[in-house]
Symmetry: C2
Subunit: 274 residues, 2 copies
């Protein structure tokens, strides 16, 4: 017997979010038709919309605003993916070619901006200061997290605490905001909303750790996106930090050389072998 998935209780609502997401993306001019049709092929896990809905259900009733909020968090997330794929020079995303690989970085920069502002336009129709403030602050924190990560590439002094600070900002903050929004719009008080926020933070951190391990251990066919980009780009993720911390003497020197050589195959072999 198949075990129940954690999204099962919100399956119908998730279908509604999916329909609405595609409707909101409908291009108003020909210039965007191809880009939007391509983004429509991205089949993501829709983790963030699910967190909005599950947190809402956990607290009380789902209201129409939950669907809108779920669409907004997915739109903002998609915008960050489009910009991240430029930085990582990723060629594959969600089982299809990345926007960056198909149209180049110039189009990708502007299309990311388009998706961010589309998300905030939908959000502003809700007329909720709490939601607008929380999501704009979250995007701010996310971009700061990505900036810190970039600035500390190839820095072997990056500690586990530094790593957790980065992933909390760049990934977990939007998961936490999704939970807080879901809870708040279902009538949660501050205490309950804070607890679901913290739950989202933990889910986001766990998700990013798995994602970082898959970047080293996974296969592109299974995962559906470009892998090994972390090592290629000098991003020190948890598997690499743990590798460096476990080694000493010659082995440490060899690992450092491999990381700074930017040869991902050898580094991957070294990590898997440890």
């Amino acid at each position: 017997m198949e075990s129940a998935g954690i999204f099962d209780s919100v399956k119908e609502l998730m279908d509604e979010v999916e329909t609405r997401f595609h409707k909101e993306l409908q291009p108003r001019s020909n210039s965007l038709a191809d880009l939007i049709a391509h983004i429509g092929k991205y089949k993501g896990k829709r983790l963030r919309p699910a967190l909005v809905l599950l947190s809402g259900k956990c607290v009380g009733d789902i209201v129409p605003q939950h669907i809108e909020l779920a669409v907004v968090v997915e739109m903002v997330h998609t915008a960050t993916l489009v910009h991240d794929d430029i930085i990582d020079e990723a060629t594959m995303r969600r089982h299809v070619e990345s926007v960056n690989s198909k149209w180049g970085r110039e189009i990708s920069i502007l299309f990311g901006d388009y998706l961010f502002s589309r998300g905030f336009t939908i959000l502003s129709t809700l007329d909720s200061q709490i939601a607008t403030l929380l999501l704009s602050q979250t995007v701010n924190i996310m971009s700061e997290g990505e900036l810190i990560q970039l600035q500390r590439r190839y820095d072997l002094g990056l500690s586990e605490n530094d790593y957790f600070d980065i992933i909390e900002r760049k990934t977990a903050s939007l998961c936490a905001a999704s939970c807080r929004l879901g809870a708040t719009f279902a009538g949660a008080n501050r205490k309950v909303s804070d607890r679901l926020f913290n739950y989202g933070l933990k889910v986001g951190i766990a998700f990013q750790i798995v994602d970082d391990c898959l970047d080293v251990m996974g296969t592109e066919e299974e995962i559906g996106k470009s892998l090994n980009t972390d090592i290629q780009k000098g991003k020190l993720t948890l598997p690499l930090i743990r590798l460096v911390n476990q080694l000493s003497g010659n082995k440490l020197e060899t690992a450092k050389e491999l990381i700074f050589q930017h040869d991902s195959r050898d580094t991957k072999a070294a990590i898997v072998g440890c």
Copy 2:
């Protein structure tokens, strides 16, 4: 006797906007300190904040929200400059090195996102649905205008109407929004707000035409930013469209060749000579 500048009546308010802009940009983490200090050196014309204040004064009293709105439109404008300079590969902006030239495109993408979201965070403190909806829609229109411009590079079929459509989106829309915001927050009714919006649209279009002419005719010392980027990047601006439309036969073929050769010096000479 020196003639009165159009900004004279709002000079003190503009100083307040300047102080507030720098205060709002204060970095909360070390990772951003250098980037923000650099942006602080950008000495712009502050056209959009001036349009907020002048439109407000034109209708009624200036209120504290006008200062906030003026800061927000400048923040959003600065974000678009940071992203545009990646696309144009511009090395100079507002008399100093561009963020792209100094830190590269990866940092520039994320720093642009940071500035956009900072602008929307300040905006959300005003708790105005009208302002949030208008500005998010405006950023959406601006990115669409830039996308259309990119897609039609090196396209000699670009008409003057197409050009005006592009510059209305990418430049004039934020000037128009600045005027509408200034008017609305001073208590303007719909009719007055619409008229000032249209005034802003015309100012923005005029401003962009001048900017496009300066790209061909100006000097970098005077203008303080990288010039000739339009021709280098295949952007057909009004001077180039007029050049192509005036020519026929061999002269037209030569102009086309020069444009498609991407040799900006020869094309510049051809335009100035026409």
